[in-house]
Symmetry: C2
Subunit: 118 residues, 2 copies
DNA sequence: CTAACATTTCTATAATTCACGAAATATAGG
DNA sequence: CCTATATTTCGTGAATTATAGAAATGTTAG
């Protein structure tokens, strides 16, 4: 009855949309890019900006409100972090959340041959 | 652009509803119960019946169409199996699906201190 | 064959979600 | 302060989903 520590259902719901799953996988793969400004400056960041995420996922140059909405849902589920870096918002995965999801699926898995569970 | 894996988003969507997550967790925990008939007969089964799942999740004695619908969605997502056993339908988790979900969250997880990913 | 039972499918309705454009907010720079 | 840029919030309509009751399906027992 009682909800487990993190709201697992909320996380799964957030990952249950293909656009959001794309975003999440992109952020997991692209964990620490370096942004290159138009003038050639290299800006060390902890993750891609919201606009870069949008560009990668939709191919569009401009960020749109739909991606912003999806990022918000991922953030509210605790799966990603979004914080301001100057004019941009940079994203990153919440590794603690990923770890708790991993442990959710790793636990038990009783061997079908040697049923220890009952 | 290409879908990440075999219907991961579909699995997550299925688990993204709290009722279905309850069902799924129940089936994982209760992997090989033995059903006792009214007459005292013990019937070895590979999992609880749909009615037993419904009873556990909703408290209702009778199965209702809502639970049936949720079970169908879990089944179509590949997360559980449902097969007829006499008059009943018995459920079980699809351990292969659980394993692929586990590996999805286990992969990479690069250490934040030693960034090897770029 | 008929009755009883377990479960699914059908149908309808309420609620939620997705996507999009317009407007609002926040920040940096001149 | 004013403008440009990046992003979010708001409002709306279309699409999907959840829920519940009624009817249908398949199975066993008599």
């Amino acid at each position: 009855m009682a909800e487990p520590s993190p709201d697992l259902a909320l996380m799964f719901k957030a990952l249950g949309d293909s656009t959001r799953l794309h975003i999440f996988e992109f952020l997991r793969a692209c964990c620490c890019p370096v942004a290159v400004e138009e003038n050639g400056d290299v800006r060390p960041v902890s993750g891609p900006t919201v606009g870069e995420v949008c560009c990668h996922v939709t191919g569009a140059e401009q960020i749109n409100s739909t991606i912003s909405h999806h990022l918000k849902e991922l953030r509210l589920a605790g799966l990603i972090t979004v914080e301001r870096r100057g004019k941009n918002m940079v994203c990153g995965v919440n590794r603690q959340a990923v770890a708790s999801l991993a442990s959710f699926f790793n636990k038990d898995i009783p061997d079908e041959k040697s049923n220890k569970c009952c």
